[in-house]
Amino acid sequence: MKKKDTAPRKPRLAVFKFASCDGCQLSLLDCEDELLAVAGAVDIANFLEASRAVVRGPYDVTLVEGSITTAHDAERIQEVRAQTKFLVTIGACATSGGIQALRNFKDVKEFTRVVYARPDYISTLDTSTPIAAHVKVDYELRGCPVSKAQLLELLASLLQGRRPNIRPHSVCLECKRRGIVCVMVAHGTPCLGPVTHDGCAALCPSFDRGCFGCFGPKESPNTASMAATWTALGQTPITITRAFRTYNAGAEAFRKESEAHGD
């Protein structure tokens, strides 16, 4: 945000939801120690999960949660963009289509029949797509869910008019930084840490579990090498396909690798 010299108006913050679980916007309410400070620094103009007071746009910063899965939402995101100066997507659904992007690999009509008795009542698109497939996105926060620390850092950086200090490196590097013993080398546990974007501070390996990629691909991930390592550990093609097809199945690098091992 650019500061004004005299009595600056507080930046106006909005939060909008598309197809999602509400968890990423809940992350803001889960910042129990910082929430009231954030609310003091910005004007929360539209945040339906928290308030019935709604101020019309334009908004200085808009946080967008969720993916686009209906024709109505495809129109709505255009309206949101038009009212927004700086648009941030929060979480795996908004940045890569989320778990609901698993429909992209299947026939959605079949999916509808599985869940609903009257498929003709359901109106939905064939795909779940990230926000950036529809409008210009100014910043993407990864994660299923987003990291509270990254969310606060992003808001702080916007308020201070500087670039956010959010590292693009892998979960793997975070294990080294924290001195966590490699679960793959030491225990043969399949782990997506080498190809996954940091943000969780290597949470799963710290719980003796392999990373399952909920922050999506890091920049230029070597997924083919990752898959070869998994194969060497005795993992089958279907397991490898499933591993790349979870919360970021629609992210380009993960989608491609999942398709390299059959359905």
Partner: protein, 432 residues
Amino acid sequence: MAIKKTRKIRVEALARVEGEGAMHVDVRAGQVTNVRLEIYEPPRFFEAFLQGRDYLEPPDITARICGICPVAYQMSAAHAIERAIGVTVDGQLRALRRLLYCGEWIESHTLHVYMLHAPDFLGYEDAIALAKDAPEIVGRGLALKKLGNEIVSVVGGREIHPINVRIGGFYKAPGLQQIRELGEKLKRARDWALETVAWVSTFDFPDFERDCEFVSLRHETEYPLCEGRIVSSKGMDIHVDEYRDTFEEEHVRHSNALHSIIKGRGAYFVGPQARYSLNYDRLPDVARDAATAAGLGPVCRNPFQSIIVRAVETVFACDEAIRIAEAYEPPDPPALTCEPRAGVGCAATEAPRGLLYHRYAIDAEGRIENAVIIPPTSQNQKSIEEDLRDFAQMSLHLNDSDLQWKCEQAIRNYDPCISCATHFLKLTVDRQ
């Protein structure tokens, strides 16, 4: 009575609920003629894409249905699949699961009491506005919520979509010291929860009761979380295996969530009030005494008083968590050995918003053949509509803006989670 003969109240967005939907109330000649809860939260097809996935995956995948109550999904999924493969989690592993669930109840209930529901009673748009006038009260709520989240983080790894739950137990057992320290902190949380009960009991409650059928789990000795028979206030007493013989789901045109009914009887009501009214005798003394002091009897039928019941259940969850923390010994190993086998397993656990049913059929290799998930809000949809019909009828003397706010509040009584049921947000009252 309506000032004009024909008037229309429209709320573009119903706030302080989780999800997207609309509500229509039609008034004709002083009579509420039609109430419709429209859930237009886009469908996400979890049951469909679970087909063909591995039997170890549902605790992680189904957690993504709801960011507010992921633990509930993890618990129902884990218990259902464990029944399919013939594994029973017991002892300290079972206790640790209860502890994790208590954390989610504290976090979810406190979020609703302080941030979503209390502002209605006090005439504030949101908790942030309330915090300007009553910073110490909102501060207490945030501190209490934070401790609930801390339980989920310590046991589950993180607050939203925890990573430590697996079929058969946990990936890693928390250390003894960690849990003991948590137990100490929770003693303060229990005091805050007691103060919360006293605080919300001072609110004004509309004189409004409905005689609907309560449904919840009932355990032999405990206040129910993960186990028990499914019982109702009208004499139902079934094993979870009989769920689908007893309940059915209808698909109605105006909702992307399926409506549940009791076969041959109709709407029913799950959630804190149902649990409380069917398990009052299972509450610890500290919670029961708080309820009595707050003016609640053993049954609570006023949906507006659900805020007191949530606060009472928060006292229970803190008390239970303390009990578990004090008796904790790290389970070793942290999970039972699990092997796939062909079978069907179902389970129901008590999510903060009520009964959550999962059923999985898996093949000999552990591939999921089909999955059924019935979340609490979809079970309550019909009751919400019936409540709103009665409440709107007795509130027609209010002006449009007051009526609109009161109707929103009546919906928020249920703490509806539309991400779970699939979501709502528009409220229209059409009066002619």
